[in-house]
């Protein structure tokens, strides 16, 4: 009960406080119009649209809970006792948010706009000014998916994972290293990434609710705040409580925030590598050979990465950030006319996700053996790269050993690169 109690105080006062006061200070978080168009295409017939009023309502709820790019807020429903204080601090959000500046005591703020927004966008929608020209596109945080982490699919990354990404960058992509930033600034950016992610996840959730609404508001304040001033009935109250629970309690608190609370408990255990993994070990060569065999048999790796490992096995797949809108609405990725409604609201042209070229010595998620172990054990979220569930840890280590040896082996022995793919894949 107390949980509900605080939720209601929080959102109720925030929403009532919002009514009527328009904030028009730029910049603003951009509404997720791609998701809106997708939901319309999924649930309505061609000539139907959701009422525009939903855009305003969603905007109001979002601002009440998460504030603005200059003035971030976070829904700490339980006040000072809220467990979310462990993962987000308002001070850190403020350091990352807002316009770029340094105060009299030389404390920097506006870090996100200084270092990240031109790629990831103010909203974290992956659509900053430079995004369209980059391959891969900068990450859209709003889906809540991360590729390079120590946790399995659908479990958020730990702070440590995000810190590693910021410190090391993502080799082979435009994502730079921020190694030179002091620790506290990195931490503030890590929290800001989580903030933009949870915000984006919640907005998508709200948009996903629209189809089932039948024109009624997401949260109908008039149930309890009657224009006539009359007392709400029992039924009104029950209905209101229900809406609050579905939207805020379940939708935001349980489905989103609670899962970000302690990602550490989901971290995948990395089993120790067998002694043969060591390059100096006398049986290392056999171990690599075993890895090679697994690559073609139990690993099934050549089916995507190609016989030579150059990455030419599967070239027509899309990542989840793209599939998210192209799959649901009869889009033909090869025909821009088929997705013009999406382009009009900012969707970037779909581009296939390429299996990595394993004959080059670069790994986006880091080249430490543990990094590769995790990629194989868990797969890479948001991409076709699957988890090798059926392999034992020693088998995974053998494949890691082979993968690490690949750039130095003559991979043509395994087969030939398909001529059509040669140009496409070599990068």
């Amino acid at each position: 009960m107390p949980r509900l109690f605080y939720q209601l105080i929080f959102i109720g006062t925030a929403l009532l406080g919002m009514a009527g006061c328009e904030r028009s200070e730029p910049p603003v978080f951009r509404f997720n119009s791609v998701e809106w168009v997708k939901q319309e295409k999924t649930h309505l017939s061609d000539d139907e649209h959701f009422p525009e009023a939903y855009k305003t309502e969603i905007g109001t709820i979002m601002t009440a809970l998460f504030g603005t790019p200059d003035d971030p807020k976070f829904p700490f429903f339980l006040g000072d006792d809220d467990p979310a204080h462990d993962i987000i601090s308002i001070e850190n959000l403020r350091m990352a948010a807002g316009p770029t500046r340094v105060d009299k005591r030389e404390r920097a703020s506006g870090l996100y706009r200084e270092h990240c927004a031109h790629c990831h966008g103010i909203t974290g929608n992956g659509a900053g000014d430079t995004a369209a020209s980059l391959e891969p596109y900068p990450r859209d945080f709003r889906l809540g998916k991360f590729k390079f982490k120590s946790t399995p699919l659908r479990s958020p990354p730990t702070d440590h994972d995000l810190t590693e990404i910021l410190v090391n960058g993502i080799p082979g992509s435009a994502m730079p290293s921020f190694r030179t930033l002091p620790e506290d600034q990195i931490q503030s950016l890590v929290e800001y990434v989580k903030y933009l992610t949870m915000r984006g996840q919640f907005e998508r959730f709200l948009l996903g609710e629209l189809a089932a609404l039948d024109g009624e508001p997401l949260i109908d304040l008039s149930l309890v705040d009657k224009p006539s001033g009359e007392e709400p009935s029992e039924d009104d109250i029950e209905e209101f409580e229900d809406q609050m629970y579905t939207v805020i309690g379940e939708g935001l608190q349980e489905r989103i925030i609670a899962r970000w609370l302690r990602p550490e408990r989901k971290v995948t255990k990395i089993e120790a590598a067998p002694p043969e993994f060591d390059m100096q070990h006398q049986e290392h060569a056999q171990f690599v050979q075993q890895g090679r065999e697994l690559f073609f048999a139990k690993g099934n790796c050549m089916q995507c990465h190609g016989d030579t490992g150059i990455g030419d096995g599967q070239l027509n797949n899309f990542d989840d950030w793209t599939n998210d809108w192209i799959k649901s609405a009869d889009v033909d990725p090869g025909d821009p006319a088929s997705y013009s409604d999406f382009s009009a609201v900012g969707a970037l042209p779909p581009r296939p996700v390429k299996p990595r070229n394993l004959t080059r010595h670069y790994y986006r998620g880091g080249d430490h053996p543990d990094d590769l172990y995790l990629r194989l054990r868990n797969g890479i979220e948001g991409t076709p790269m699957p988890a090798s569930t059926a392999m034992t840890s020693d088998e995974i280590w053998a494949v890691v050993a082979y993968v690490r040896a690949m750039p130095y082996l003559d991979s043509k022995k395994n087969g030939s690169v398909k001529p059509v793919n040669k140009k496409q894949v070599m990068r």
């Binding site: 006062t13 009532l16 089932a212 797949n317 569930t389």
Partner: protein, 267 residues
């Protein structure tokens, strides 16, 4: 002013909350049979194109048709989820019939057979084990993506991998896909509330041991989403494809023949 009002409201709310559950004894069933009225949408050939594994994926040497809409010779429709509604504003039972406890311990198999997932539509409980089987002589990956669950498992030819589902519950079914053979698709609903039935090859469904009471039931199909145009005698499905039905202790509520205009299945 508004705030003062709001705080009194909270008090009212908390008091009114504690008196909801009403006693129920006895259980009942819900049955029916779904048939398509009008034209049955045609299934197109699967987009096998020149996939290198074509040889394994053909059926009798031919490119098979998609299994999006499967009917028998009487146009009775398979793969409709008939499920107790657990979405927005739903009233759901606090306890389930004990017979559903055993369901969780069963290992559910999802096979890959000639580049097709079998079965097309499944229902699993959180925590249940899924055997991802591959009867084909090529590798597949099995990508399960629902609202709450995600797995992407490499499945080697002629072998199987097991996964254990997490504890979250979905509200509507999600997708199963293979990236290597992109036309492959199946659907899966993962949720704790066990009152779900998937219509069989004759369009028949049966949900057993529902607590007596008034519950909402939803009709959903991959190609139609919420089946708001389904005709159920004596009921008017709403926009979410739900009806409210009264389940009586010891009785089976037979909804008879439910007819669905073929035009609903065009997604």
């Amino acid at each position: 002013m508004k705030r003062v009002f709001f705080c009194t409201l909270l008090f009212v709310l908390c008091v009114s909350m504690s008196s909801v559950s009403s006693a129920q004894d006895g259980w009942g069933n819900l049955t029916g049979q779904i048939v398509i009225s009008g034209d049955v949408p045609e299934n197109q050939p699967e987009a096998v194109k020149d996939n290198p594994d074509k040889a394994v994926c053909l059926v009798d040497g031919k490119v098979p048709l998609d299994d999006g809409v499967v009917v028998n010779d009487k146009n009775q429709l398979r793969d409709v989820y008939v499920m107790m509604y657990t979405g927005r504003g739903a009233d759901t039972p606090d306890t389930y019939h004990p017979s559903y406890e055993a369901q969780k311990a069963v290992k559910l198999t999802l096979d890959n057979d000639k580049c097709r997932f079998v079965p097309k539509a499944s229902f699993a409980r959180p925590g249940q084990t899924l055997i991802l089987k591959n009867s084909d002589n090529v590798g597949h990956n099995c990508r399960i993506a629902t609202m709450e669950h995600e797995h992407n498992v490499n499945i080697v030819k002629n072998a199987a991998s097991e996964i254990v589902l997490g504890e979250e519950s979905d509200k509507i079914p999600g997708e199963v896909k293979c990236d290597i053979h992109q036309w492959m698709d199946a659907i899966i609903l993962i949720r704790d509330n066990p009152y779900v039935s998937i219509s069989d090859k004759d369009g028949k469904f049966k949900i057993e041991n529902i607590p007596a009471g008034d519950w909402k039931f939803q009709f959903w199909h991959k190609k139609g989403g919420y089946l708001k145009t389904i005709e159920v005698k004596g009921y008017e499905p709403d926009r979410r494809g739900t009806i409210e039905a009264t389940i009586k202790s010891g009785e089976t509520l037979d909804l008879g023949t439910l007819s669905l205009p073929g035009a609903a299945l065009t997604k």
